[in-house]
């Protein structure tokens, strides 16, 4: 029986693959790597690309990942996959976008925001009415 290594591919939103393999290929930051069983402990960032898992019967499974981390221990390979394409500029843009949304919302221009506020006020009014009703009931009894 050929030597095998355990492979787990997980992302923040769920497990993608789990099983054993005779060889795992991935595109690490410094070039493609092939991981055989009993590989020494190794850790690297992954570039967007293929992760190939070679099974004992020679079949290969392909997983496309948009970047992530590769962690290797002698008996386990773990791919921590990103669920989105990450790059410094993109992250920066996302952050700016989140800030802009907050400013916009605080300026009170979005209809959605007005809706949220109206809802909150309505909830408050309903609570007040309920309290008044309760008081009345208490008085009556």
């Amino acid at each position: 029986m050929a030597m095998t290594i355990r492979v787990d591919i997980v992302s923040a939103e769920g497990a993608i693959h789990s099983g054993s393999a005779t060889m795992v290929y991935a595109t690490a930051e410094m070039g493609e790597v092939g991981i055989a069983p009993r590989h020494t402990a190794f850790i690297s960032r992954l570039k967007p690309g293929d992760v190939r898992v070679e099974h004992e019967n020679g079949n290969q499974d392909h997983f496309y990942i948009s970047g992530g981390m590769l962690e290797v221990q002698p008996n386990v390979v773990t791919v921590l996959a990103d669920t989105a394409i990450r790059a410094h500029d993109l992250d920066e843009a996302a952050a700016l976008e989140a800030k802009r949304r907050a400013e916009e919302a605080l300026a009170g221009q979005t209809a959605e925001f007005e809706y949220a506020r109206a809802q909150a006020e309505l909830a408050e009014a309903v609570a007040q009415l309920r309290a008044i009703e309760k008081l009345r009931k208490l008085k009556r009894s």
Binding site: A12, E13, A94
Partner: protein
């Protein structure tokens, strides 16, 4: 006595309300199951990451990332507040905000100023009324939140931390205890809560790093914190659905009671009307 017709229309309207609440209850029940699955699906990622991070922190003691640094004296702290987008889920959001208000009060007394990032439109609406500095927000994540929707919001906070604008970051969200119970909790994200440092490693070993330990650790830490926030969002989603299910069940039950009471009143009114009619006829016949 109210007219029989009025009562009848009232009963009909309550019945249609009951139909709606019952439907919402059932929708929430099925969504809750999915949300719970999502909650458990996101766990292995964070666990694995924590394992790697704690190992890295041990293996490279010379490099200390700012997220793992010692606590510094606090002037401002950041809160990432996770709420639902929609209402009709009982006291879920208001309990959370009550807990947060108590916390803010405590912090302010200690001379610490809070800043906020909000996730979900309920939190946004709350802070608009309550006041407070909102640095970033994300709303309308839907039933299936994605990590990429949160990256921006989390980054704003982490940047603020690295720039020294805030001295700690907390995440405020509901913890899913079981279907009936949701616990508002405040957890510290940064500086990272130190885990148990010695996992009893028999001999010292280290990874081969590509390109180097520092950049690997940086990338890992950001992702780890994002995944923690994502988990909080997913968990809050499960809480929202279960709270809604319970609230809607209570509403359906109340509607049932109300219908019963009204039915009784209606029957009495009908009986009275018939009796009156008969007595009128009898009276009329006697007069002839």
């Amino acid at each position: 006595m109210a007219g029989a017709k009025e009562i009848r229309t009232k009963i009909a309207s309550i019945k249609s309300t009951q139909k709606i609440t019952k439907a919402m209850q059932m929708v929430a029940a099925s969504k809750m199951r999915k949300a719970q699955d999502r909650m458990s699906a996101s766990r292995p990622y964070a666990e694995k990451m924590l394992q790697v991070i704690s190992h890295l922190a041990q293996a490279t003691p010379e490099y200390r990332h700012s997220f793992m640094a010692e606590e510094r004296p606090r002037k401002r702290v950041g809160y990432i507040v996770v709420s639902s987008d929609r209402g009709l889920c009982g006291g879920l959001n208001s309990n959370l905000f009550r807990r947060l208000i108590a916390e803010i009060k405590e912090q302010r007394e200690a001379g610490v100023e809070p800043v906020f990032c909000t996730i979900g439109s309920k939190a946004l609406g709350f802070f608009k009324r309550f006041g407070g500095e909102i640095k970033a927000q994300a709303t309308h994540l839907g039933d299936k939140p994605h990590v990429e929707d949160l990256i921006g919001t989390v980054k704003v906070m982490l940047d603020a931390f690295e720039a020294g604008e805030v001295d700690a970051i907390y995440v405020v969200s509901n913890e899913f205890v079981n279907t009936m119970t949701q616990q508002p909790t405040i957890r510290r994200l940064v500086p990272l809560v130190a885990g148990e440092q010695n996992d009893g490693m028999p001999y010292h070993w280290d990874y081969i790093y590509e390109p180097d330990a520092k950049s690997v650790l940086d990338a890992l830490l950001t992702r780890y914190i994002e995944s923690l926030v994502y988990q909080a969002v997913v968990e809050n989603g499960a809480c929202e659905q279960s709270a809604r299910m319970v609230a809607m069940k209570a509403a359906s039950d109340n509607a049932g009671n109300l219908i019963g009471e009204l039915q009784l009143v209606y029957n009495k009114a009908r009986q009275a009307a018939i009796t009156q009619e008969i007595s009128e006829i009898v009276g009329g016949a006697a007069a002839v």
